[in-house]
């Protein structure tokens, strides 16, 4: 646990998850949430691998080079609902991505996606196709860095916790973030304009994993019970949680940030600019031995199926 207890990821996902696990196993398996993190975010996957903690969650992107299959879900224009994307992502993971072996050291309880990343600016002609040209955008790294570059912006690096500093000091002119994060990191007063991109510019992949030895120490009935409340069900709950957090973030922006949908001209320009990046990311994912193209197609199909419901 590396987030404050009030963060929705903890209060509305991890806590209910532990309750559901306890309920499903008739109280035989209970989890304690530690009051403070054991280490920096990038260490949490290994905490589960090494048994430092039984269950951990985090962002695959914090361990660059380790997870290449996450590329598939982090690509632009996938969808506006974290729930749909997360459910589809879990199904693709379960069917195809698991074979890449990236998670062989742990028991995966869920993989899921944050809501889509949008564009936030201090000022600018938001309808101009070249609105991002030369604009300094704070990015966290990974695909966001590459998206910003591809769109002609100047990526300014810094951890999320420094985003406020970078914006308030004028070092960055804007940021690529989901609605929830802009609100969570208290950036609303710093920003005046937003461009909402249909389908989002990128997504962020998360994991919730369990120590393998711990998992194997449970009897089959307990394992089955946990499987019923994790996997797709947990991914769905996570997606719903992010959607609600994004909605809350958007509501908090009411009257503070003007949200303008991206124009047709902008979209076609950006889609063109990002096509090589999408291909490069899929190629990278394919290095793990999975059929990245097929996985990407399945992901899009599953998202469409979910959206239709």
């Amino acid at each position: 646990n590396w987030l404050p207890p009030s963060h929705p990821l903890v209060s509305e996902l991890i806590v209910p998850m532990t309750e559901q696990i306890a309920e499903a196993t008739g109280g035989e398996v209970t989890a304690n949430i530690l009051p403070a993190p054991l280490g920096p975010p990038q260490a949490h996957f290994d905490f589960a691998v090494n048994g430092v903690a039984d269950i951990t969650f985090g962002v695959q992107g914090y361990n660059p080079g380790r997870f290449k299959t996450t590329n598939i879900v982090e690509l632009p224009f996938l969808g506006d609902s974290a729930e749909n994307i997360s459910v589809a992502y879990w199904r693709v993971f379960d069917e195809m991505l698991r074979d890449a072996g990236e998670y062989d050291d742990v028991k995966v309880l869920a993989v899921f996606s944050h809501g889509p990343g949008e564009i936030f600016l201090k000022s600018g002609e938001v309808s101009e196709p070249d609105v991002l040209q030369g604009v300094k955008l704070r990015v966290g790294g990974g695909i966001v860095h590459e998206v910003a570059s591809a769109l002609g912006a100047v990526p300014v690096e810094g951890p999320s916790s420094k985003a406020y500093e970078l914006l308030s000091q004028g070092v960055a002119d804007g940021i690529l973030f989901p609605y929830e994060s802009v609100n969570f990191f208290k950036l609303i007063p710093q920003l005046d304009e937003a461009i909402s991109v249909p389908g989002g510019l990128y997504n962020t992949s998360f994991y919730i994993v369990m120590n393998k030895a711990k998992w194997e120490s449970l009897d089959p009935e307990q394992q089955d019970a946990i499987d019923t409340v994790t996997g797709e069900a947990l991914a769905r709950m996570a997606g719903q949680m992010w959607d609600a957090a994004d909605a809350a973030g958007k509501a908090a922006m009411e009257g503070e940030i003007a949200i303008t949908p991206a124009t047709e001209a902008q979209l076609s320009a950006w889609e063109g600019a990002l096509t090589p990046l999408v291909q490069a990311k899929l190629d990278e994912a394919a290095e793990t031995g999975v059929d990245a193209e097929a996985a990407f197609d399945m992901l899009k199909a599953e998202i469409a199926k979910e959206a239709a419901e």
């Binding site: 080079g65 380790r66 300014v156």
Partner: protein, 169 residues
Amino acid sequence: MPEALPETTRPRGAFGLRAALAVLGGVLLMALMGMTVTDVIGRYLFNAPLRGATELTELLLAAVVFLGLPAVALADEHVTVDLVTDRMPAAVKPWRGAATGLFSAVVLAVVAWRVWVYAAQIGGYGGTTTTLAIPIAPLGYFCAVCTGFGALLTALVPAHALIRHLKGH
């Protein structure tokens, strides 16, 4: 400037080691500084910040921190609580120094071992930095070696002082 121990109380070879550490550490620190300056100037004059400046800063920081450990050990400058130890009789001091040095060396040796193992683990999944994709494992091995070296010196420097004390110097 901290008052250094007189050269005579140091193990032989300490001087050369110190010079090597100083030059390497100096280069790393100047690089750390130069990076920020380049990043900021590049951002304003050329609208082109240094790509990967954040992660290069992180790598250099770790290198400086761990490289500094042998330097700290060499000067026997680990910070201690001296509320009681300063009141101990003079004859006890070298013994106490050797004992606490040994304790610290054991702790540091364990740390060195674990940083090495951790580096191997990161290397195992090909862990890299975010933007420049620089492999992290080699830095981990470097830090582990520095820590091991620091452990050795942390034990040897007070032991050397004890031996000199016993010889009656």
